[in-house]
């Protein structure tokens, strides 16, 4: 039976002619849903269970990267066409924000069908093609998945509101009053006044932690949990390498609590992990929980089991602290947050980043520090968004290449897997005149051709205008020009990724901060021991000050060893009993490998 009237559960999807959820209903009222078997599956990459611990991630917005069909919006085929570039750069894994069917009232995080692709991006088949091509190049792909809620256009919600007694009647959190769970805070205070919204169709209130057009799924209902696990399986069967799980703290509600981080939420994550471990080993779950590291570690699960929830979680406060440290010319904002970061299970890894598609979040700093960050990095009020700063890396750093290199060097060497944001490798700018967070979501700048080489369309059709100002515009900043110039930021970044790849210490090693009497210098030791291989010892020294600085490092534990600079291979004087003296130019940094003196030892 096919339904075409306005009350059909798939009416709001706009996916006629494309396989989608709710094309038909079974005799007992269940929606038929696309199955992974309906599609081809991507070929896989060689098995490596811990790949994510030393991977470099690259966040790319499908909409913003490359437009293959000339309609002004980037798409999956277009992205696939640029995989050679991503491989050349040395990226190990792409992170794609959601590309699912969606009314796009929350940047695609309002998903209306978990099993269909947003038509402007392409189809599931196009995604299979992208994944297959990426895997052929050794590049993995993860994507966002929102577990907590769906769009109100999702056929599940349409069924739920129209047929309270049908199979989906219990898929969402319904109530006759708007009084329950009153201790839960309202997250989007600018737009929402309550976590409950009245639905005139069903005549009841539904619960939503985010926007009112994003009803929360009811995890109390075991069918919902099972249905969401099946969504994971759908994409994992197709071949995806993992998920960034959006907004994980909010899955369950419980009266008398703030409804965040509840034990049953963790239980469900353990279930997700078990599906991955049992059925899809080598795929990863990355938690997005914007909280202090001491609380986020809960999402790695039981340390005695090496972690049994998410493999990875983002480290949020490190990013604003890094900016603060450089502005203050003091290592302590970074040292402090690292000292407060608990150790994590063996199988776990942090995801660290300088910038991403959201604003530079300032929730993880004190009020005083927030004021300071606004004053320093958001001089124009338009640069601010929510509780953060909406700018790209280059303009945040006044386009100073020394600072861009210093920040990137720290990102690549501090503990965690670095996540680069598309365009930052060429020092792209932002457009603070665009609304919301679009400032940092403009088209990738490929060349000085029309529309920065992003699309062949009429410039007026572009989803957002390409940056065109004299400093950051695509005529000045683009991939093609930087490819042709070996001293460009692009080549430098590529070289650094290569160096990082050669040293397991960066991804797998432990971390020890090396103090020094100079507060403007942040130095640390990364050390990785693996059976049968020589110990990998890397020392990173960063000058957070704009002035040249001397530093004396206490390295006498390694007396007799020789530091070899990693980008050029130059041997420095051997370490002796006395403190090791280095001088660094303003915002300079060094990466050294410590090697036993020639002729000595292995």
């Amino acid at each position: 039976m096919t339904v075409h009237d306005a009350t059909a559960p798939d009416a709001a999807l706009g996916l006629e002619g494309i396989p989608h959820t709710g094309e038909a209903l079974t005799a007992d009222g269940h929606l038929t849903e696309p199955q992974a078997e309906d599609f081809k599956h991507a070929r896989t990459v060689p098995q490596d269970l811990l790949w994510y611990k030393s991977a470099v991630f690259y966040e790319v917005l499908c909409r913003a990267f490359n437009d293959s069909d000339g309609n002004g919006t980037g798409d999956l085929r277009g992205l696939a066409d640029k995989l050679d570039y991503i491989q050349w750069l040395g990226v190990d894994c792409l992170w794609l924000p959601p590309f699912y069917a969606s009314p796009l009232r929350d940047g695609g995080y309002d998903i209306s069908d978990f099993r269909a692709v947003l038509p402007e991006f392409g189809t599931v088949d196009d995604f299979v093609y992208l994944l297959d091509q990426a895997h052929q190049r050794g590049i993995r792909v993860i994507t966002d998945l929102v577990l907590n809620h769906t769009s109100d256009a999702h056929p599940w919600f349409q069924e739920s509101r129209q047929h309270p007694d049908g199979p989906y009647g219990d898929y969402y959190v319904w109530s006759d009053s708007d009084e329950a769970y009153s201790d839960a805070r309202i997250i989007f205070v600018d737009t929402e006044t309550s976590n409950w919204t009245y639905d005139p169709v069903r005549g009841q209130f539904y619960w939503h932690r985010f926007f009112s057009h994003q009803p929360d799924l009811n995890y109390e209902n075991p069918e919902v949990a099972e249905a969401m696990l099946d969504v994971l399986r759908f994409w994992l069967d197709i071949g995806i390498d993992g998920f960034r799980l959006d907004a994980v703290p909010y899955l369950f509600e419980e009266e008398g609590t703030n409804c965040e981080n509840l034990p049953r939420t963790h239980e469900f994550l353990k279930q997700c992990r078990k599906v991955v471990d049992d059925e899809y080993p080598g795929r990863v779950l990355l938690a997005e929980a914007n909280q202090w590291p001491a609380d986020v570690v809960e999402y790695f699960g039981d340390p005695d089991k090496g972690g049994d929830e998410c493999h990875m979680a983002f480290h949020f406060p490190l990013m604003p602290r890094s900016f603060m440290a450089v502005r203050r010319e003091s290592r302590f904002p970074i040292s402090e947050i690292l000292a407060q970061t608990p150790s994590i299970p063996d199988g776990a890894q942090w995801g660290i980043f300088l910038r991403n598609h959201d604003e530079l979040t300032l929730e993880m700093v004190t009020d005083e520090e927030r004021d300071y960050m606004y004053a320093e990095y958001a001089k124009d009020p338009r640069m601010k968004a929510n509780i953060g700063i909406r700018r790209r890396l280059a303009p945040l750093l006044d386009n100073d290449s020394n600072q861009m290199e210093l920040f990137t060097a720290m990102l690549l060497s501090l503990p965690g897997s670095p996540v680069l944001y598309y365009g930052d490798e060429i020092g792209m700018g932002d457009n603070i005149w665009l609304g919301d967070r679009d400032a940092v979501r403009t088209p990738m700048q490929w060349s000085l051709d029309r529309n920065a080489g992003f699309s062949r369309c009429d410039p007026a059709r572009l989803y957002l205008p390409a940056i065109a100002d004299p400093v950051y515009g695509y005529q000045a900043v683009n991939v093609e020009a930087q490819m042709n110039n070996t001293s460009s930021l692009l080549h430098w970044t590529r070289r650094m990724l290569q160096v990082r790849k050669e040293h397991p210490a960066f991804g797998l090693g432990d971390f020890t901060e090396l103090g020094s009497s100079n507060p403007s210098v942040l130095a640390y030791l990364r050390r990785h021991l693996s059976p049968g291989a020589p110990e990998d010892l890397v020392i990173c020294v960063n000058n957070l000050s704009r002035f040249p600085q001397p530093v004396e490092l206490n390295l006498s534990d390694h007396a007799g060893w020789v530091p070899v600079e990693l980008t050029g291979g130059v041997r420095f004087p051997p370490i002796g009993e006395l403190p090791y003296l280095l001088t660094l130019p303003g915002h300079g940094f060094y990466w050294f490998q410590l090697t036993p003196e020639e002729g000595e030892g292995p």
Binding site: S330, A339, E376, E577
Partner: protein, 444 residues
């Protein structure tokens, strides 16, 4: 080593007469040494190298020496050779990592050599087998660092037990203070204290270096105010104020506090006048400030409120505080260097520490300025000083419950007295720096 240690060191007396005055920690600088006696010498390690612990009397001042003896000292020890002992060389053993590493073993073993006791603090478990190295900063004592774990300060001029640095650290440790480096062990005999080991804060940077990095940032900016530049230090100053107030509260809680009537301050006022008499006689530039200073001191006589007194740090400045990844730590509770041991032990107003710190902010602000600096840079430095002094007081007040600036008369007198002391100190030791306290006096 074949000879007895006492004889060996005695035979070095001539060399020591030349060597001692060249040491940074030698007190009577610039004077010739006439008499050097060896009070006592104890062998701590025999063989090659050997280690001797010696107490020397140099013109009436007692010094502690650790003397290494090697037949063939490696090159990095050549600079610290004192003299020859037969076929061997005697040298300053504090520069010899190998011999110093042995001290940790003595501490761990609870050794007792010729009446010298090496004693761990209760409940301390030592990590042993660590490398040792001298800390390599200019100081009035000599400190040895073991691995990333411990630092042992060897008092060059050992004083009688009890040692104030040790006692105050113990008291603060008892109440679980987070603002100190925990005490680890003590080296002493029945009469004198020779050394004090503490946890080494490997991630620490000195307050002075942290503060002057901020000043440097401001001065490079030119047209921005102290509150506008990236290197603003006000947050740190405030946290430092909180740490100092916490230490004061902890010291009061464990060692007691007492409220004294205002007339007890007259004694302090007399001391201030006395110091001013002496310093003006020595430094004529001070004369122009004399009326202002005397008036400020005398104002204290009119105070009517009683004053709390207690144990305080006694020599607080930015060089006595360390910034670690977990916050500010105070070190070196020996007390005011110029004071007699009996005076150092006295309880005093905590405002003296505050005054010391406020003066130090001023020093940091003006340290990078040359004598001929323009109005612009001077204005910036003044701004930095004002801003950070205020933040320090705010932080202090947030913990202490009372703002030190509310005690304006007393605080001002303490600060000015400190400035007078600085004028004398700089005049004798670093004449280029006299302008720093003098500029401060001119501003008030």
């Amino acid at each position: 080593m074949s000879t007895r240690p006492l004889h060996a060191v005695e035979s070095l007396a001539g060399d020591l007469r030349a060597w001692l005055p060249a040491q940074r920690w030698f007190a009577a600088k610039g004077t010739d040494l006439t008499d050097v006696f060896v009070e006592r010498a104890v062998m701590l390690a025999d063989g090659d190298p050997a280690l001797v612990h010696a107490l020397i009397d140099a013109d009436g001042e007692r010094y502690q020496l650790l003397i290494g003896v090697r037949d063939d000292p490696p090159e990095h020890l050549h600079h610290c050779v004192i003299g020859r002992l037969g076929e061997s060389y005697a040298y300053d053993a504090t520069q010899d990592g190998e011999l110093m590493a042995g001290l940790l073993a003595l501490l761990d073993a609870g050794a007792d050599h010729g009446g010298i006791h090496w004693t761990k603090e209760p409940d301390v478990e030592l990590v042993t087998g660590l490398r040792a190295r001298p800390i390599g900063v200019e100081q009035s004592n000599t400190s040895i660092v073991f691995g990333y774990h411990y630092i042992l300060k060897l008092f060059r001029r050992p004083g009688p037990r009890p040692n104030r640095d040790v006692e105050l650290h113990r008291a603060l440790h008892r109440v679980g203070s987070a603002q100190i480096a925990d005490p680890i062990a003590v080296v002493e005999d029945d009469e004198l204290v020779f050394g004090f080991a503490q946890r080494y804060l490997a991630d620490a940077a000195e307050g002075w270096a942290t503060a002057t990095a901020s000043v440097r940032d401001l001065l490079a900016e030119g047209d921005l105010h102290a509150g506008e530049v990236g290197g603003d230090f006000a947050g740190e100053s405030s946290r430092l104020g909180m740490a100092v107030a916490q230490v004061h509260a902890d010291l009061a809680a464990t060692m007691g506090t007492e409220v004294v009537s205002p007339d007890r301050l007259t004694e302090a006022v007399e001391v201030m006048h006395g110091r001013l008499d002496a310093v003006t006689a020595e430094v004529p530039e001070l004369a122009e400030f004399e009326p202002m200073l005397r008036a400020a001191f005398d104002a204290v006589r009119h105070l009517r409120e009683s004053q709390p007194i207690q144990q305080i740090h006694g020599d607080l400045h930015l060089g006595q505080v360390l910034r670690t990844a977990t916050g500010w730590v105070l070190i070196d509770f020996e007390g005011e260097p110029a004071a007699l041991a009996t005076d150092r032990a006295k309880t005093r107003s905590p405002l003296r520490d505050v005054a010391g710190m406020l003066r130090s902010f001023d020093y940091a602000a003006f340290a990078l300025l040359g004598a001929d600096d323009d109005h612009q840079r001077t204005t910036r430095a003044t701004e930095w000083s004002d801003r950070n002094r205020a933040s320090f007081c705010e932080g202090y007040a947030s913990v202490a419950g009372a703002d030190p600036r509310d005690q304006a008369v007393l605080l001002r007198a303490f600060e000015l007295d400190k400035a007078v002391y600085e004028v004398a100190y700089e005049h004798r030791n670093r004449p280029d720096w006299v302008r720093v306290p003098l500029t401060a006096l001119r501003r008030t």
